[in-house]
C-alpha cells in the first residue's frame, strides 16, 4: 500500500510542477478594458497576442472568443470557445458560450438524443486529461504487474487487488479516451467564412455541392493544395472547401 502511494506521488510530481508554472499572473487588464469600452476589434487583437503567447490558457481562449463574437466573427469565436472547452471542459462559462455560438450556427452543443447530464459527464474530462489518466493508470498497472510478477507467493495475494484495479482503470480511461476522440475528433475545424462553399473536388473547377454557415464545426479529412476535404459534423455531408475558410483547432 505504501509503495503504491509513493508510486502515485512520484508520478504526480512532474504534473504538479507543470501546474505551478501555469498559475502565473494574468496580464489581460488592457484587453479587458477595451472589451468594457466596446472596442471589440482592438480587444480581439489584444487577446490574440495573449493567447498566442499562452496557447494552453483556457481563460484567454475564452476571452478571445468573447471579443471575436462581439466583433461579429462568429466562426473564429466558435473556434476559440472550442479551444477553451477542450482545455478546460468543466468550465461552465466556456460550455455556455460555445453552446450559444453553436446555436447561432444552427448546431447543437449536446448531440440530439443524448441527455445533457450524460453528455456533461462524458465530456467532463478533456482529451488530454483522459490521456493523462490513461497513462497514469497504465504506469500503475504495469509497475504493479511487474511487482506482482516478481513477488513471491506470499505477497501476490496482497498485490493482486491493486493490480486488478489499476488494470480496470487503464481499460476504462482508455475506452473513454477513444470514445471522446470519436465524438470530438482532434482534427476538427470551424468554418470561418460567412458562406462556406463545399465543392465536389479541390478547386473552383468543381461544382458547389452545398454551403455551410459560418461557425459550423467540421472534421478535416484530407488536404490538397489550398483545399481541405471536410465532413460537416452535424449533417455528415462531405466536400472540399478552401483552407482559408476553415480554422483548424
Amino acid at each position: 500500500m505504501t509503495r503504491v502511494l509513493l508510486l502515485a506521488a512520484a508520478l504526480a510530481l512532474p504534473a504538479s510542477a507543470a501546474a505551478a508554472l501555469a498559475a502565473q499572473s494574468y496580464p489581460d487588464a488592457q484587453a479587458r478594458r477595451l472589451y468594457d469600452e466596446g472596442r471589440f476589434e482592438a480587444c480581439a487583437a489584444a487577446y490574440e497576442k495573449l493567447a498566442a503567447a499562452a496557447p494552453r490558457d483556457a481563460a484567454l481562449q475564452y476571452n478571445l472568443g468573447n471579443a471575436l463574437f462581439k466583433s461579429g466573427r462568429l466562426g473564429r469565436a466558435t473556434a476559440s470557445y472550442e479551444r477553451a472547452f477542450t482545455l478546460n471542459p468543466r468550465d461552465s462559462d466556456a460550455r455556455a458560450n460555445l453552446a450559444f455560438v453553436l446555436r447561432r450556427a444552427g448546431e447543437d452543443f449536446v448531440p440530439p438524443g443524448i441527455p445533457p447530464a450524460v453528455f456533461w459527464a462524458f465530456t467532463a474530462l478533456s482529451e488530454r486529461e483522459l490521456a493523462g489518466l490513461h497513462w497514469l493508470s497504465a504506469w500503475a498497472c504495469l509497475l504493479l504487474l511487474s511487482a506482482f510478477t516478481l513477488a513471491g507467493e506470499r505477497r501476490r495475494g496482497t498485490r493482486a487487488p491493486w493490480t486488478a484495479a489499476a488494470a480496470a482503470a487503464w481499460c476504462v480511461f482508455g475506452l473513454w479516451w477513444m470514445g471522446l476522440r470519436a465524438v470530438l475528433p482532434p482534427d476538427r475545424g470551424v468554418v470561418v467564412s460567412s458562406r462556406g462553399e463545399l465543392r465536389h473536388g479541390p478547386g473552383p473547377n468543381f461544382g458547389v455541392a452545398f454551403t455551410v454557415p459560418e461557425g459550423r464545426r467540421v472534421r478535416v479529412m484530407g488536404a490538397s493544395g489550398a483545399w481541405l476535404e471536410v465532413g460537416v459534423l452535424k449533417e455528415g455531408a462531405r466536400g472540399w472547401i478552401e483552407a482559408a475558410s476553415v480554422e483548424r483547432l
Partner: protein, 604 residues
C-alpha cells in the same frame, strides 16, 4: 351642361331598387413566382347604387392588401346599373398550388367560381401572359402616341385616350387620360364605360376636367377623366377601349321649311357610341437586387417616427407612430417589422392611410401605430424602422428610414401586487436577453488538468513501464526455470559464478595472495563440479577430467590439457608457495580464460 351631366353620371349614387346582384372575380394571372404579386379583381354589379361588399374568405399562402375600389354608374333609358370593382393585391408567401375559394356577396344568388393559383419559387418562370420586354429604354418617360379619334362621327364627337409614358416598371404609376370631345349639343345622359385594365391597379384622379379646345380648326368642348394605373406584371399590357355613349340632337333636314316640321324634327335624339383604340404599355420587371423585405413600392418615400412620450416607467405603454409618406402605391407597404428586443414588448400595429393626388400623382401617407411596453428600466433604444422602395428616377433600390428613439425608463411600480391573484404564485425570472457570458477575470484552475496533461506529454517515457514489465517477466521466467531444473541451472550458471569468484580473487591478489590462490583453486573445482552436476568435495583432477571426457559433447583435448595445467599450477601455488613465479592476478585471468573455453565447448 354636358360636363356636369357626365360627372354626375360618374359620381352620383342612385336610390336602391329591387334587383339581382351578381358577383364575378378575376385574377390578373394564374401563375406567379414568389417574388411577384398578382391582382384579384372582384366585381359586384347590380341595378342599384348601394351594392354589398364581397366577403373575401381567408386566402392561404398569400398576404392580401386591399388596393381600393372603383364604382361606375350608368343610366340608360332611365334605368340605372352600377358595378363596383374591388381590387386586392395578393403577395404569395410560399410556393405551390393555392386555392382561391368562392367569394360571395349578400344578395348574389351564387358565389364566384373557385380559382387556382400556381406559385413557383422566386426567380422561376414568369407568369403568363407575359409580353416581351425590350432592352431599349429610349422610349421611357415620353408620352404614348396619342390615339387617333375613333369613329369620329363627322368629327362631332370623339374620344381620345393617352398614357403619359409608353414604358414603365412594374408598380410604377402611369397616368391614363380619357378625353371626350364634342362639337354638338348632346341630349340626355352620357354613359361612360371605363376601359378594361387587366394587369393594372387603378386609382381615380378626380375631378373631371372640362374645357374647350380646337381640333383641326373646329371648336370642341371636352371632358377629361384621369386614372392612375399601376401595372402589376411585366410584359406588354393592353388597356382596352374607353367608350362613351351619348345622344346627339339632330337638326331638321335641309329644305324643310315648315315650322312645325322643323320644330319636331330638331328634337329627335340620335344615339351615338364613340370609343378610343386600345393602348399598349411596355412594362419592365424591376431590376435584380431587391431587398429581402421589398414590398413592391415604386416611387419615392420618406419615413419618420414619433413617440407620445419618451420618459416613462417600466411596464407603461408608449405609442409609436411611424409615418411613411411619398409618391407611389403606398397601399402595398406592409407594417414595419418589429425588432426582436427582449427589453421591449410590441403590441398589435394599426394602420391608416391618407391619399394625396396632387398634380395627378398618387401618394400620401401611411401611418402605423403600435404600442410598446418597456420591460426593464434604464435607457432603452427603439431601433429605427426601414421601408424599401424602388426609385424609378434614379433607377435604384432605396430605403426610407426613421431614426431610433431613446426611451428613458424608470423602474416600474410592481403592478402585479395590485392584481392580487387568488392563489399565491412564485415570482418568475423574466428573460430579457440571451447573450454570451462575460470575460474571465482570473485564470482558470489548471490543476489537475495541467498535471494530467503533463503526464500525457511524457511521450517516449511511457515505454518505461512496459520495459519494466518485460524485465520482470524475464527475471521471473529465469527464476522459474532455475527452480524447475537445478542441475541444468547449475550447468548454465557455472561460468558466471566462476567469473565472479575469479574477479574476487583478482581483487585479493594484491594483499592476500594465498587466499586468492586458494579461491582460484576452489573455483576450478567448483566449476567442473557444476558442469558435471557432482559434489565439489572430493573431486580430484583425474575424476574431473574423466567426467568432462564422459560428457555427451566433451571439450577438446587441448582444452583438457589447459585445464589440467591450470589446475596443477593452482595446487602447486596453494600448497607450495614460492615454487611458481608470477602474480596471482594474472593467474586468475589465465584461469578465467580456460574456464571460458571449457564453458563454450562442453554441452550436457
Amino acid at each position: 351642361m354636358r360636363a356636369v351631366a357626365f360627372a354626375a353620371v360618374l359620381l352620383a349614387a342612385a336610390a336602391p331598387s329591387r334587383a339581382a346582384v351578381s358577383i364575378t372575380a378575376a385574377l390578373s394571372h394564374s401563375e406567379v413566382s414568389l417574388d411577384e404579386q398578382l391582382v384579384l379583381s372582384v366585381t359586384v354589379s347590380g341595378d342599384r347604387a348601394s351594392l354589398p361588399q364581397p366577403k373575401l374568405p381567408p386566402l392561404d399562402g398569400f398576404s392580401v392588401y386591399d388596393s381600393g375600389r372603383n364604382q361606375s354608374l350608368s343610366f340608360v333609358n332611365g334605368r340605372m346599373t352600377s358595378s363596383v370593382i374591388y381590387t386586392f393585391v395578393l403577395v404569395p408567401r410560399a410556393a405551390g398550388k393555392f386555392r382561391i375559394p368562392p367569394i360571395a356577396a349578400d344578395g348574389a344568388p351564387a358565389p364566384t367560381d373557385e380559382m387556382i393559383v400556381e406559385v413557383s419559387p422566386a426567380g422561376g418562370a414568369p407568369a403568363a401572359p407575359r409580353g416581351t420586354a425590350s432592352d431599349s429604354r429610349s422610349g421611357r418617360g415620353g408620352p404614348a402616341p396619342a390615339a387617333a379619334p375613333a369613329r369620329r362621327r363627322a368629327r362631332e364627337v370623339f374620344v381620345v385616350a393617352t398614357l403619359d409614358k409608353a414604358r414603365a416598371f412594374v408598380n410604377e404609376q402611369v397616368t391614363l387620360s380619357v378625353r371626350f370631345y364634342s362639337a354638338v349639343q348632346l341630349v340626355g345622359d352620357l354613359r361612360y364605360d371605363a376601359p378594361s385594365m387587366t394587369g393594372f391597379l387603378t386609382e381615380d384622379l378626380p375631378p373631371v376636367r372640362n374645357g374647350t379646345a380646337s381640333v383641326d380648326g373646329r371648336a370642341y368642348q371636352y371632358s377629361e377623366i384621369k386614372v392612375a394605373v399601376f401595372p402589376v406584371q411585366p410584359g406588354r399590357l393592353t388597356i382596352g377601349p374607353a367608350t362613351v355613349r351619348c345622344q346627339i340632337a339632330r337638326m331638321a333636314a335641309p329644305g324643310v321649311d315648315d315650322f312645325f316640321d322643323r320644330f319636331f324634327s330638331m328634337g329627335t335624339p340620335q344615339p351615338v357610341a364613340v370609343d378610343s383604340p386600345p393602348l399598349t404599355l411596355q412594362v419592365d420587371p424591376l431590376p435584380e437586387g431587391k431587398p429581402a423585405d421589398f414590398s413592391g413600392v415604386v416611387g419615392s418615400l420618406s419615413a419618420r417616427v414619433a413617440a407620445d412620450r419618451t420618459e416613462i416607467k417600466a411596464g407603461d405603454a408608449v405609442t409609436l407612430t411611424v409615418t411613411v409618406a411619398g409618391r407611389g402605391n403606398l397601399k402595398t407597404i406592409p407594417e414595419p417589422q418589429k425588432p426582436d428586443l427582449p427589453a421591449l414588448r410590441f403590441f398589435t400595429t394599426e394602420s391608416s392611410m391618407s391619399l394625396d393626388k396632387a398634380e395627378d400623382r398618387v401618394g400620401g401617407a401611411k401611418i402605423f401605430r403600435t404600442v410598446v411596453v418597456p420591460r426593464v428600466s434604464g435607457e432603452v433604444r427603439v431601433p429605427g424602422f426601414s421601408f424599401p422602395y424602388y426609385d424609378a428616377q434614379r433607377r435604384r433600390y432605396a430605403r426610407a428610414e426613421t431614426d431610433g428613439i431613446l426611451l428613458r425608463v424608470a423602474p416600474g411600480e410592481g403592478k402585479g401586487a395590485a392584481a392580487a391573484p387568488s392563489a399565491p404564485t412564485a415570482p418568475e425570472l423574466t428573460v430579457i436577453a440571451d447573450d454570451i457570458r462575460y470575460l474571465k477575470i482570473s485564470p482558470t484552475h489548471a490543476f489537475p488538468s495541467a498535471a494530467l496533461a503533463a503526464v500525457a506529454d511524457l511521450g517516449a517515457l511511457h515505454f518505461l513501464p512496459f520495459a519494466a514489465l518485460a524485465f520482470a517477466s524475464i527475471l521471473a521466467w529465469r527464476r522459474r526455470r532455475a527452480a524447475s531444473d537445478p542441475s541444468g541451472n547449475r550447468f548454465r550458471e557455472a561460468l558466471s559464478r566462476a567469473e565472479a569468484r575469479l574477479a574476487q580473487a583478482s581483487d585479493l591478489a594484491g594483499g592476500d595472495a594465498a587466499r586468492a590462490v586458494a579461491l582460484i583453486d576452489d573455483t576450478l573445482a567448483d566449476f567442473v563440479a557444476d558442469k558435471l552436476d557432482a559434489p565439489a568435495a572430493g573431486l580430484t583432477l583425474k575424476s574431473a577430467l574423466d567426467g568432462l571426457k564422459a560428457l555427451p559433447q566433451p571439450p577438446s583435448a587441448e582444452t583438457i590439457e589447459r585445464l589440467r595445467a591450470v589446475w596443477e599450477e593452482a595446487d602447486l601455488r596453494r600448497f607450495a608457495p614460492g615454487a611458481v613465479g608470477g602474480d596471482a592476478r594474472s593467474f586468475a585471468e589465465a584461469a578465467r580464460a580456460v574456464l571460458a573455453a571449457l564453458d563454450a565447448e562442453v554441452r550436457r
